[in-house]
C-alpha cells in the first residue's frame, strides 16, 4: 500500500479515526507520519518494561550504590547490568541478587514466587548430590576463570566421580 501523502513510499502506519461514529482511515509512510506530527506508539519491549518496573517498584531494601556495582562471583554481571537488559548472566544470579529481584519476579508472575509444577525426575532423591555437583561446577568455573588449572582438574575428577556413582 502506498503512502497517501508522498505517493512514493510504502505506507507502514495505518491510522483509524472515529469521529461522530464516522470511521476514516489514513495510510502513511513513517516519514510523512512524522511530518504530520504523528508519533508512532510501538509495543514497549519487555525488558524496557521490566527496567521501568524495577525503577518504580517499592523495594523493601533499596540497593545502595555499592550493591548496584556488586558483581556475581560466578558470571561477573552486576545488578546495574541486569536492570538494563533484564537478562541474567548465569543461573546463580537468582540467588546472588535474590533480595533485589524478588519483587520484580513476583510482579511479572502475578504474585507467584515459588515454582510449582514439573520437577526433573532426577531431582528428588538426589537433591543433595545435585546441589553438591552444582557447587563443584561453580567452583570449577571460578577455578577456570582464575586459570587455576590444578584445582580445576581436581574438581573435574570429583565431578566425574560423582557422576559415575550416579549411574
Amino acid at each position: 500500500m502506498q503512502c497517501q501523502f508522498c505517493k512514493n513510499n510504502t505506507a507502514t502506519i495505518h491510522l483509524t479515526e472515529i469521529t461522530d461514529g464516522q470511521r476514516s482511515e489514513t495510510h502513511l509512510c513513517e516519514l510523512c507520519a512524522q511530518k504530520q506530527g504523528l508519533t508512532v506508539k510501538t509495543q514497549i519491549p519487555l525488558n524496557e518494561l521490566l527496567s521501568t518496573l524495577l525503577s518504580v517498584q517499592a523495594q523493601p531494601e533499596p540497593a545502595s550504590a555499592d550493591d548496584e556495582e556488586r558483581a556475581c562471583p560466578h558470571c561477573g554481571i552486576t545488578l546495574r547490568e541486569f536492570r538494563k537488559k533484564s537478562i541474567f548472566g548465569c543461573p546463580d544470579d537468582y540467588d546472588v541478587f535474590e533480595k533485589y529481584i524478588q519483587p520484580i519476579i513476583q510482579y511479572s508472575h502475578e504474585g507467584g514466587s515459588t515454582h510449582c509444577g514439573k520437577v526433573p525426575s532426577k531431582a528428588p532423591g538426589e537433591t543433595k548430590k545435585h546441589s553438591e555437583l552444582s557447587a563443584l561446577r561453580r567452583e570449577l568455573q571460578v577455578a577456570v576463570r582464575e586459570e587455576n588449572y590444578e584445582a580445576a582438574a581436581k574438581l573435574r575428577d570429583k565431578i566425574n566421580q560423582l557422576l559415575d556413582t550416579k549411574k
Binding site: 558470571c75 537478562i87 508472575h109 515454582h115 520437577v119
Partner: protein, 351 residues
C-alpha cells in the same frame, strides 16, 4: 531432508483439522530450559556456545520421536532459508537474526522443533492442529523427560527451571493458541478480545506478518505467568475456559453477521474469491486479508468448492520467503506479487 522439500507443502499443524478447527488453527506448547554448569548465553563465549550447541544437539538428535529429525545450523544458513523457517514458525525471528553458534532440530512432520542457543540454551516446542494443548503438553513433557536423562537442567528448588529472563522462570512454559477471528473484527468487537486477554494477563500477537500487527485476522494468544502455577493448571485453564469462551464469542459474531448483515457478509466473501481468482498482482498483505475472508466464507458454508486445506496451503506458500525458495530465485516485491497472484489463481481455479 532438505528445507525445500518441506517448503512446498503445508505444515501438519496448519492442515485445518483438529478440535474447534473453524476458529482454533493450532496449538503450541514451548518449554525453556538451560543446562546446569553453564552460564546463560549473554555471558557465553563463542566456544562455550559451541559446546552447549553440540551437547544439546547430540541429546535431541538421539531421541526417538517416532519421526525423522534433521538439524539446521542457523549461524551458517542462508537468509532465505532462515526466513522460510520463521514463516513456518519453526524458529523465532530473534533466532534467525541473532549471532553466534546456534541451530534448530526439526521433526520431519514439523510437530516438534528445538531451538538451541536462542535466548535460553534450549527452547523446544510441540505443535498440533486445532485445540490440542493437553496433547501438546503431554508430548513435550515426555520429550523433556527423555532429554533430562541425558543432561542436567539448571533447576532451583524455589524458582524451578531457571531461565535467562526472569519472566520465563519456573515452569518455563509458553502455551499458545492460534486463532482465526474474522467475525469479531468485522463486527467491531475485536477490542473486547484484546481487553479480555489483557485482564487475564495473556499476550496477543499477530500470527502472520512482522511485529504485533495481526494481518488476516489471525491472533496468537499466550500465557505470560510461568511461576507459581503448574503447567497442567495453565493448560487446563486455556483448554476448558479461556479458549472455549473466545470460540463462543467468535461464533456468536458469525451468527450475528448471518442474521443481521448476510448481504455484507456474502459481499465480502464473494469479493474475496473474485479477486483471488482473477488478480494478476497481489501483495502479501492483500492476500492475507482476502484469504481470511475466504476462509471464513468456507467455514460458514457461504462459499463452496474450496477446501480449508487449500486455503491454508495458500496462506503458507504465498509468504515472501516461501515464494522465493520454491521458485528457486530471489524476487523483488513486484515479481513476488505476480507469482503470488499466479499461484493463488491457478490453485483456486483447479477446484
Amino acid at each position: 531432508m532438505k528445507l525445500n522439500e518441506i517448503s512446498s507443502r503445508t505444515s501438519e499443524w496448519f492442515g485445518g483439522s483438529g478440535p474447534l478447527a473453524d476458529v482454533v488453527v493450532s496449538s503450541r506448547v514451548r518449554l525453556a530450559r538451560n543446562l546446569a554448569g553453564f552460564q546463560f548465553l549473554s555471558r557465553c563465549s563463542s566456544p562455550q556456545k559451541t559446546q552447549i550447541l553440540e551437547k544439546l544437539k547430540a541429546a535431541v538428535m538421539s531421541l526417538d520421536l517416532g519421526d525423522e529429525v534433521f538439524y539446521i545450523g542457523i549461524d551458517k544458513a542462508a537468509v532465505l532459508d532462515k526466513d522460510v523457517l520463521v514463516e513456518r514458525h519453526l524458529i523465532s525471528r530473534q533466532h534467525a537474526h541473532a549471532k553466534g553458534p546456534r541451530g534448530v532440530v526439526i521433526a520431519n512432520g514439523e510437530f516438534f522443533t528445538a531451538m538451541i542457543n536462542e535466548e535460553d540454551h534450549l527452547r523446544m516446542q510441540v505443535f498440533k492442529a486445532g485445540l490440542q494443548l493437553r496433547e501438546c503438553w503431554e508430548q513435550i513433557s515426555k520429550i523433556d523427560d527423555m532429554i533430562e536423562q541425558k543432561i542436567d537442567y539448571a533447576f532451583h528448588p524455589r524458582y524451578g527451571y531457571l531461565t535467562a529472563c526472569p519472566t520465563n522462570v519456573g515452569t518455563g512454559i509458553r502455551v499458545s493458541v492460534m486463532l482465526h477471528l474474522p467475525a469479531l473484527r468485522m463486527t467491531g468487537q475485536i477490542e473486547k478480545f484484546f481487553a479480555a486477554a489483557k485482564s487475564m494477563n495473556l499476550a496477543v500477537r499477530g500470527l502472520f506478518g512482522e511485529g504485533t500487527e495481526a494481518v488476516g485476522d489471525f491472533y496468537q494468544l499466550s500465557n505470560q505467568v510461568t511461576l507459581g502455577v503448574s503447567e497442567v493448571e495453565i493448560v487446563d485453564e486455556f483448554t476448558d475456559s479461556t479458549i472455549p469462551k473466545i470460540v463462543e464469542y467468535e461464533n456468536l459474531a458469525r451468527d450475528q453477521l448471518l442474521v443481521k448483515q448476510p448481504e455484507m457478509l456474502d459481499d465480502k466473501t464473494s469479493r474475496a474469491i473474485g479477486l483471488l481468482k482473477n488478480a494478476r498482482l497481489i501483495s502479501s498483505q492483500e492476500a492475507l486479508f482476502l484469504l481470511s475472508h475466504l476462509r471464513m466464507g468456507v467455514n460458514m458454508k457461504r462459499i463452496t468448492g474450496v477446501s480449508i486445506p487449500v486455503i491454508n496451503e495458500l496462506f503458507m506458500l504465498t509468504q515472501p520467503a516461501h515464494l522465493q525458495l520454491n521458485s528457486g530465485k530471489r524476487l523483488e516485491p513486484a515479481g513476488r506479487d505476480r507469482l503470488r497472484a499466479e499461484i493463488i489463481r491457478s490453485r483456486l481455479n483447479q477446484n
